[in-house]
């Protein structure tokens, strides 16, 4: 009798505390959600700015660039002689912020700011005689800028991408206020197709200083993730290109290159070393290719660390008088930089 009562009690208890919600969920017939009617005004679908598997874009980045020992052969100009020097290392901060101010299905507008410096640590035996060596030793090269990027999807497949940046490049330090004559304007305009969720292609034109001076060149955007989702290609040619290997969604490896360059107004150098004939606007045309391997991984949630190492191949470090398009005159002086290995580490807040 007691046994029957206990059994009844146990059965009742199990019945009362049965996981009803879980059972309800498990038994839900999801096929009922296949045939639906969209309410309200019919909506137009728009493509997004990303493809599946692409590396997360950086909202805030704090980095440090270090280049190993190399040489600088500073050419003669005006009444200054040439000088052979040894650089122990180059280093500098790399800061970047990119904030989306409008982010919805129809528009993606972000504004950003960047700061990049390259300091030159010459060997102790180097006595700066050549004005270029002097200013690089004292000031290094700095780029500070602001930029805007607009991604405008026109429909499910087609999009327009526009980018503008204003950069102040020169031989000035962090605490100096750059002048308007150091300002360089770059821009790019592309039209593209997001063919499917793993492929995005765009074509356009860019006004760029990556080649060391103002250039107008075609630009190609190509982002692709292979079917296996492990491999991918991320390219914005000629600026950069990389093959991506996704270990998992929080660990990524890249092998690729970046074309880095700018035209720097050397105001400090001109002030320190007045020369004959009196040059009015000395511009240092720097352009180099960085071949590189990069490992990016999530340290904590949206905080990613990027470790990059590679070889810097400099192919332009010459001086012109004036900012102009096309080559109208020979360089004022021709300088040659050695090619060092380099490493860059950055901590990044990445985008959702």
């Amino acid at each position: 009798m007691n046994f029957k009562k206990i059994s009844l009690f146990v059965l009742l208890t199990i019945f009362c505390f049965r996981p009803t919600k879980l059972m309800a969920q498990e038994e839900e017939d999801y096929s009922q959600y296949e045939d639906v009617e969209v309410t309200g005004k019919p909506t137009k679908n728009y493509c997004t700015s990303k493809i599946v598997g692409i590396s997360p874009s950086k909202l805030i980045s704090v980095g440090y660039d270090f280049q190993s020992a190399n040489t600088l052969s500073a050419g003669s100009y005006a009444n200054f002689g040439s000088q052979e020097t040894e650089i122990q290392y180059n280093s500098g901060l790399r800061l970047m912020a990119n904030v989306p101010v409008i982010s919805n299905v129809k528009w993606l507008v972000s504004v950003g700011a960047n700061y990049a410096e390259t300091k030159y640590k010459f060997s102790p035996e180097t006595v700066p005689i050549n004005p270029l060596v002097k200013t690089l030793s004292a000031n290094g090269l700095t780029t500070m800028g602001i930029n805007t990027t607009v991604f405008k999807p026109l429909n499910e497949k087609t999009f327009i991408l526009a980018q503008t940046s204003l950069d102040w490049n020169g031989d000035y330090g962090l605490l100096e206020i750059p002048n308007s004559d150091q300002l360089k304007v770059s821009a790019a305009l592309l039209i593209g197709r997001k063919k499917h969720e793993r492929l995005m292609i765009g074509y356009g034109i860019t006004r760029t200083y990556r080649g060391g001076q103002r250039l107008y060149v075609p630009v190609l955007l190509y982002n692709y993730t292979f079917v296996n989702r492990k491999w991918g290609i991320e390219c914005l040619l000629p600026a950069r290109g990389a093959i991506r290997y996704t270990v998992n969604s929080r660990n990524m490896l890249f092998a690729g290159f970046e074309l880095e360059g700018n035209s720097y107004r050397l105001n400090n150098m001109m002030e320190d070393s007045p020369s004959l004939p009196p040059y009015k606007a000395l511009e240092l045309r720097r352009s180099e290719i960085r071949t590189r391997l990069t490992y990016e991984f999530s340290v904590y949630k949206f905080l990613w660390l990027s470790v990059q190492t590679g070889y810097r191949i400099n192919y332009k470090f010459n001086m012109d008088d004036g900012e102009f398009y096309g080559r109208k005159q020979p360089f004022i002086s021709e300088n040659k930089l050695g090619n060092p290995f380099y490493m860059m580490v950055s901590l990044n807040l990445v985008s959702p």
Partner: protein, 156 residues
Amino acid sequence: MGKIAFKLILAFSLVGLLTKSAYTQDKDGDKMLGVWEVGSGKARVKISKYGEKYTGKIVWLLNPKSEDGTPKVDKNNSDESKRSVPLLGNTILIGFEYVGDSKWDNGTIYDAENGSTYSCVITLADNNTLEVRGYIGVSLFGRTDTWKRVIIKKRD
């Protein structure tokens, strides 16, 4: 006697007002309940209410199968033990509270495409449109998706 009656009427009125306010709040909050299609059209999410909180789970996927023909699972989840959980039925909206002004806050949204969970605020733009904003840290660092309400067609 008159004083007691007055106090009772006042007490009942207050209770009545509070109940009405809570009822209105509940009614407004419940406008988010239902089935919604995400902006890309790749998934439908059913929003339900448990206690005072709103949650949402995936009830339909445009491409429910992986390339090998098996049902899609939450393979990008940072928690290894959850990587075999089917995406269909997966809860992606958790902990939302109605904060008034057609807005639900204090919840999170899970993005199965990269295994990340974001802070999220949801706004009812009109009765059939939700603006779902996932963000990290502050709302500025985020992305808004527009979801449309869908009505399940009755089967014959």
